[in-house]
């Protein structure tokens, strides 16, 4: 195993998201952006609690959720490993095209005269509504 952890987590207390959800999201993002690849090992729960101030139960919980989503797998006595990036719906190409579409949208919104705050407000509202529909 290399010296550096495969991923360094951070918690944002202002996000309003449960810490376990933040860990799950950060792993998913790292996988979809290529920061984590197939076969990469996630830091052990013990290493995570040494790295950031977090409850070990929360890390266990996040890893279990990721396992459930098929993004990582626990190998007995070895640790938790990234399994298949194909499980995250966006491939690198899809990711790039979504990013481009969003960039175009932002340029459009600015042309209409919206300021940054209004734009991010719109984005938050959209995400929130989507989140409510999901739950």
């Amino acid at each position: 195993m290399s010296q550096h952890p495969s991923i360094t987590f951070r918690l944002d207390p202002q996000s309003g998201l449960a810490p376990y959800r933040q860990i799950v999201d950060q792993v998913r993002q790292a996988v979809s952006s290529g920061l984590l690849e197939d076969g990469d090992q996630l830091p052990s729960v013990r290493d995570v609690v040494t790295q950031i101030t977090i409850n070990p139960n929360t890390v266990h919980r996040a890893y279990r959720e990721l396992e459930h989503q098929g993004i990582v797998e626990g190998r007995a006595g070895l640790g938790t490993f990234v399994t298949a990036r194909s499980h995250i719906s966006t491939s690198a190409a899809e990711h790039a095209s979504l990013e481009q579409a969003l960039r175009d949208w932002v340029i459009n919104a600015r042309r209409t005269g919206l300021d940054e705050e209004t734009i991010s407000d719109l984005m938050r509202t959209a995400l929130r509504q989507e989140g409510n529909v999901r739950s």
Binding site: P13, V49, Q129
Partner: protein, 304 residues
């Protein structure tokens, strides 16, 4: 023997100091394996609850069970299973750190010297230092290390990280979390730092004016509260299952911190997710009887 699923169980627990109550009508269950936070202002009953749980104070009313036993003063059998750290962090100032460890070893059959030395090495605290020469942060770390090295099943910590600088406080909390990861100890700690609660505590008990006003799983608390912003109150008819916890008036509207039992979505209002801090503060404000003249039970029963 039946396996215990809770580490602390209180039913109508109360403690009276001469003429005033330190804690009243306290009914709560803290599940095993959790890191539970007691939050509330000074004098709300946090230390009283911890001291009763540690067997240092006798309850005046109700019942209390800690690890399935009654922790009355004088019962020794719980002493090995429970570690209590007072907010004054008592240490023998003239002792060297190594002497404090030896003292701990002599007094605790379950003592683990490797754990003690490992923690102190990690914190760069030399064993030969005299306690009086250590900084406040280091003294707090030594006091917690002594408590952890007993390897107790339950840690009762009264403001373990108060008055520490940010780095010392992070180190202390990580030390604690490491122990939880390694030994699966349960923790009940009191604190004023709500940001610490959000990061490390998966169970929260909010106390206001000697009463428990909220007690639940952290994630459940976060999932079941929302902030509703209403521009004006013409069409305010909240759907059933929504309880208003705290209300704030603005020039042209109000924002309500509410508890929702069911997922809900309503386009008439802007709905946001509050942070744990916002939720706890809302309960603390409403739990104070001289603010609106009612307590949280009234709100929950819909009497407003």
């Amino acid at each position: 023997m039946i396996e215990e699923t809770s580490v602390l169980e209180a039913v109508d627990l109360g403690k009276r100091y001469r003429r005033t109550w330190g804690l009243q009508d306290c009914t709560l269950t803290i599940p095993k394996g959790r890191v539970a936070a007691l939050v509330g202002p000074n004098g709300s009953g946090k230390s009283t609850l911890l001291r009763m749980a540690a067997g240092l104070l006798e309850p005046s009313a109700g019942t209390l069970r800690v690890l399935g036993q009654s922790p009355s003063p004088g019962t020794d059998h719980l002493r090995e299973r429970v570690g209590y750290l007072d907010q004054d962090r008592p240490l023998y100032k003239g002792f060297r750190v190594a002497e404090m460890l030896r003292f701990g070893e002599l007094n605790n059959p379950t003592w683990n010297m490797d754990v003690a030395k490992d923690h102190l090495a990690r914190l760069n605290i030399p064993l030969r230092s005299r306690v009086s020469n250590l900084s406040g942060g280091q003294q707090a770390q030594v006091a917690l290390t002594l408590c952890l090295s007993k390897q107790p099943e339950l840690l009762l910590l009264d403001e373990p990280a108060s008055a520490l600088d940010p780095v010392a406080r992070e180190d202390l909390l990580r030390l604690l979390m490491r122990q939880v990861a390694d030994s699966e100890s349960s923790v009940v700690l009191s604190t004023h730092a709500l940001s610490d609660v959000a990061a490390i505590c998966d169970y929260v008990v909010v106390l206001a004016h000697t009463r428990v006003v909220l007690s639940d799983d952290t994630e459940y608390i976060v999932e079941t509260h929302r902030i509703i912003s209403i521009v004006d109150d013409r069409d305010l008819a909240l759907p059933p299952g929504i309880t208003v916890i705290h209300e704030q008036h603005n020039a042209r509207g109000r924002s309500l911190l509410v508890r929702v039992e069911l997922p809900f979505n309503d386009d008439r209002w802007r709905v946001d997710r509050p942070t744990l801090e916002e939720i706890v503060l809302a309960y603390l404000r409403e739990g104070s009887p001289n603010r609106y003249g009612h307590n949280i039970d009234d709100i929950e029963n819909g009497v407003r």
